[in-house]
């Protein structure tokens, strides 16, 4: 391990990496700067802890994971692949160089259904291990159509495996504050939205265009760059760049919504992995979740502006970048 650093972290994005595009890719600090966190060796081999939880035995977990991994692996323009190593007696979050997914009892994390921790090579940023824990304190379900009062295991596994690939949280969703604290999802359009649908819902089993664009961007098939396009630009408030603004590109042809963020002090952004066609671009403050669940430097994120549309329709062409879109926002 002398050549490797250990970086176990909950789902927190590293930001300030130039060139980071749509959705949110995790970044790794290496000697040369910040690089996207990703697997260098494929397939990603994983093991399943031979331990169940109320509502889901170890074999149920194994089957749900198989389905969820397959969903990510089946993304057309992404090269990532996975390989099931079998059951193990090891627990997740042990830094042993082995990717383990399993239930843990964490009553202290009363609002956390699951989390992902990484070990990466500090020289290259390549992932070495990514463990996923699922909190056995919650009621789980593997029923085909979902089960009232229980969280869908496959949906939550799909979300966490998205992190395992190197994706951060998407902000494509709307929430409301709950009387007892926390937030409740009204609607979302990304599996990687940080707050799960209510117990009983199985809507989180299907990858959305934002998730698909994200994983394809990290592990692109050769045709990904030639078959999709991107939009670049800046978000300005009173002439200055806005950091941490959430953007969404809406494809008028397909109905796809793909999100992204301004990730530099000059308000620069790139929304990549967009299907060709005319797009409407909208920017809003990151106010539908805890800012900390998106950025580890929350104090830099500007929340004081009103949701705004770009005054230009942008036609995206495959293999090209439509640059120089400036969106001016006003303080609230």
């Amino acid at each position: 391990m002398s050549a490797r650093g250990l970086a176990a972290a909950l789902v927190v994005a590293v930001t300030a990496s130039a060139g980071v595009s749509a959705y949110l890719k995790f970044g790794a600090e290496v000697a040369s700067g910040t690089v996207p966190l990703k697997w260098a060796q494929l397939p990603v081999r994983y093991f399943v802890t031979d331990r169940g939880a109320p509502g889901a035995g170890a074999t149920d977990l194994d089957a749900a994971l198989t389905r969820a991994f397959r969903s990510w692996q089946d993304v057309d323009r992404a090269t990532i692949t996975f390989e099931r190593g079998g059951f193990t007696g090891s627990l997740p979050f042990e830094p042993d160089g082995v990717t383990v997914i399993g239930f843990l009892s964490r009553p202290d994390l009363e609002r956390t259904l699951g989390a992902t921790a990484y070990t990466y090579d500090t020289r290259s940023g390549a992932l070495v291990e990514a463990d996923i824990f699922l909190n056995s304190e919650f009621p789980w379900s593997v029923a085909t159509g979902g089960e009232a009062g229980r969280f869908d295991l496959e949906s939550v596994a799909l979300h966490e495996i998205g992190h395992l690939t190197g994706l951060g949280h998407s902000a494509l969703g709307e929430t409301e504050l709950r009387p007892g604290g926390g937030r409740r999802v009204i609607a979302a359009e990304a599996v990687l939205f940080p707050i799960a649908f209510s117990p009983g819902s199985i809507a989180g089993r299907i990858l959305r265009p934002d998730d698909i664009a994200g994983v394809s961007d990290i592990y692109p098939e050769s045709r990904f760059r030639s078959e999709t396009g991107s939009i670049s630009g800046r978000v300005l408030k009173s002439g200055r760049g806005v950091f941490g603004a959430h953007l969404v590109a809406f494809n008028l042809r397909t109905g796809d919504l793909v999100g992204g963020y301004t990730l530099s002090e000059d308000g620069g952004f790139t929304l990549a992995g967009l299907e060709p066609g005319p797009h409407v671009v909208r920017v809003e403050p990151l106010d539908d979740g805890d800012v900390e669940s998106f950025f580890d430097e929350a104090e830099r994120v500007d929340l004081d502006f009103a949701a705004t549309f770009a005054d230009r329709t942008v036609v995206v062409q495959a293999g090209r970048n439509a640059g120089d879109l400036t969106i001016r926002v006003d303080p609230r």
């Binding site: 359009e189 809507a203 969404v248 042809r253 109905g255 060709p276 062409q317 090209r320 439509a322």
Partner: protein
């Protein structure tokens, strides 16, 4: 629609066929007096080529409405983040044609048209109260086309000779400040009126004005769905024949 276009062409051909050439006897009025026709001003040697240039107006067409929709939580409908309604707005352009007179009543024509329509998307009903606006992207539109024109002197009005036309072309649209290029096909049919006078120079056999109205059909190009779009256009051209 193809069947209708073919019908229009046949009708034009039938109407044009009995038309006498300028070397034949001019048509007469019901009173038996020679009619004043455009053909009178055409020289004995009929001009073979025709060069035309002029402005054109293109009508707009609707591309459709779309909702930006998020998947709803358990037991709830999806949330509409905002609504959109998109159109290709009309505008003015420039039209250049090079024609070849197959017969005194039939022209074969090749042309290039340039226009600058706007792709306009009205955005409204934002879930978080963003101000509604119209997002605009100017589009540079080029059409290279060919057409067949059939003149119908027997339906002459004053000095104007009516004609019918139909053709097809290649459409190229450049949007988002050159970042996006799309292409498609354009088909058109219509009719117009031409006023011609004999030329005063040795190289100039005739000159005149033409104006026509068309119905255009487009496939491909910038759109939000795979659909055929229809729009009208008007054009007026000054032309010289030699």
């Amino acid at each position: 629609m193809k069947r209708r276009l073919a019908g229009a062409l046949l009708a034009a051909w039938w109407a044009a066929s009995p038309m006498p050439s300028s070397a034949q006897a001019p048509p007469t009025t019901t009173a038996g007096q020679p009619a004043v026709t455009a053909a009178e001003s055409v020289p004995a040697r009929p001009p073979r080529y025709e060069l035309a240039l002029g402005p054109a107006w293109l009508g707009g067409y609707d591309l459709g409405a779309r909702s930006a929709q998020l998947t709803g939580n358990l037991g709830q409908p999806g949330l509409v983040l905002f609504e959109t309604d998109t159109e290709m707005a009309g505008g003015f352009g420039l039209d250049a044609k090079l024609g070849y007179r197959l017969t005194p009543t039939l022209r074969l024509e090749a042309g290039l048209a340039y226009s600058r329509p706007e792709l306009r998307t009205s955005v409204s009903d934002d879930a978080e109260g963003a101000d509604a606006l119209v997002a605009v992207d100017p589009v540079s539109q080029y059409v290279v086309e060919g057409a067949l024109l059939a003149y119908v002197p027997r339906w002459q009005v004053g000095n104007g000779v009516p004609y019918a036309l139909a053709g097809a072309g290649y459409l190229r649209q450049v949007a988002s400040e050159g970042a996006a290029v799309d292409s498609g096909g354009v088909y058109h049919a219509g009719g117009g009126m031409a006023w011609e006078r004999a030329g005063a120079a040795s190289w100039l056999d005739a000159w005149g004005l033409r104006a026509d109205v068309r119905v255009n059909l487009r496939t491909g190009g910038i759109d939000i769905e795979d659909a055929t779009r229809v729009w009208p256009s008007l054009s007026a051209r000054f032309y010289v024949a030699f």
